[in-house]
Symmetry: C2
Subunit: 251 residues, 2 copies
């Protein structure tokens, strides 16, 4: 039986990354695309519970939704594909990296989180760079990793967060399995004044440093590798439970 693949993203249904990914993954099975009707970057794992959603069927296999990436995946798995459960969810290819702690802000990763929570093996794909993105570079590795997950699945509550350098294939050194890196956060708020003399504020820039953690996603990508990080959705900090029990329950 052919495999069924669901694609979503946070850059929106008209982004280049999702089109190219769609074309490529057709080689692996029957592909559905359910994606936001516009750019939803940095919406994180938002779910629209307080307003209804509109769904636009573009072809038999392609739908747009006036919601977040999480909405799209939920609507696809619990609605459109309710009787046709996908074997794989792929989110991306995102324009720009999703690394370090920043993945908790990421719409791309959130779509993969939602797929995982709903029981579908899921991958988040991001192309790391600024300015000129060439998605063609990333397609080979995207296909390879999608194929691996289709064949091997993933453990419960685990997704793969993949970041691919924006480099021609021959310059990519290979794949490495990494851990989530850590960003240095110290961005001052930027204050501006509008034409009517009223202040407004921008949350700080994005050209910030990362801690140079060995085998982290950021270090791997900087060195020219494709970074694959297994991400778990049980956020419990188990190694702090005993101390809390001893401290907090004693008081």
């Amino acid at each position: 039986m052919p495999k069924r693949i669901l694609i979503s993203n946070d850059d929106g249904i008209n982004s280049e990354g999702i089109h190219k990914l769609h074309e490529t993954l057709k080689k692996l099975g029957e592909v559905y695309v359910v994606a936001p009707d516009r750019d939803q970057s940095a919406v994180s794992h938002s779910l629209s519970l307080y307003r209804p959603l509109r769904l636009d069927k573009i072809t038999e296999y392609v739908y747009s939704v006036d919601g977040t990436p999480t909405d799209c995946v939920n609507l696809a798995i619990n609605g459109i594909l309710r009787d046709k459960k996908p074997d794989l969810l792929v989110s991306g290819i995102n324009k720009g990296e999703n690394i370090g702690d920043d993945i908790t802000y990421s719409g791309t990763v959130s779509a993969a989180m939602e797929g995982t929570l709903l029981g579908i093996p899921s991958i988040a794909l991001s192309l790391v760079g600024r300015g000129d993105f060439n998605f063609d570079y990333a397609l080979h590795h995207s296909e390879l990793i999608a194929k691996y997950v289709l064949e091997n699945k993933l453990p419960e509550d685990t997704l793969l967060n993949v970041n691919i350098p924006n480099l021609p294939g021959e310059q990519i050194k290979g794949i490495v399995i990494t851990r989530q890196g850590k960003r240095l956060y110290d961005e001052p708020i930027v204050e501006k004044v509008d034409p009517r003399g009223k202040k407004y504020y921008w949350i700080g820039g994005d050209e910030l440093g990362f801690l140079n953690i060995d085998s982290s996603d950021i270090v791997a990508v900087k060195q020219g590798y494709v970074s694959v990080t297994p991400i778990g959705l049980d956020l419990t900090k188990y190694d702090h439970i005993d101390k809390l029990r001893a401290d907090l329950l004693r008081e």
Copy 2:
């Protein structure tokens, strides 16, 4: 020197939960409130990077922001309090639980995540119930846990996710340290038709079951305990790295 406490939430600056919390925590130090100007439930860890934010100074210590809980915390720590780093961030008290996998959707928990990422010991507080909420019940335990964190801090990248049953104090059995529970996800999409004959969709209801995991947040709260879960922000699934290395790099 008096301690400095920052409060935020996702129910908005005018919610009862944040007012009562504010009054209570004044006993522990100098309290700042920086919260969304309206309800921002289920916005998750969204950060407004593509539009500027407006800030409304209500008193010397109270500000509202036209953004998400994450925006509020970022604006507070990197802006308003940039030279007055808080010793503690408390998010809440939220109307409704934040337990299980659902914490990845939660604005309340996200505010605490942002505080943690910016280096401030952080607590998310939620009152578990439906319909009639009595925040007075939760204040005693909120103060106790805030006091503990002020005195003992928390490990790096770790926050406390606290869920308090909506019960009178004498009916609460005490505090337990828990792990993140697991929700059962199988909510069909609800289809409706608007007055103009066009379909629209609601993401499923919220009266769902949870797996009955021993020592999980949901079980603790159901039994009448205050649940305190230590939550870590390194999402790497370390125990899957070796298998991925063996499998994926071999191909």
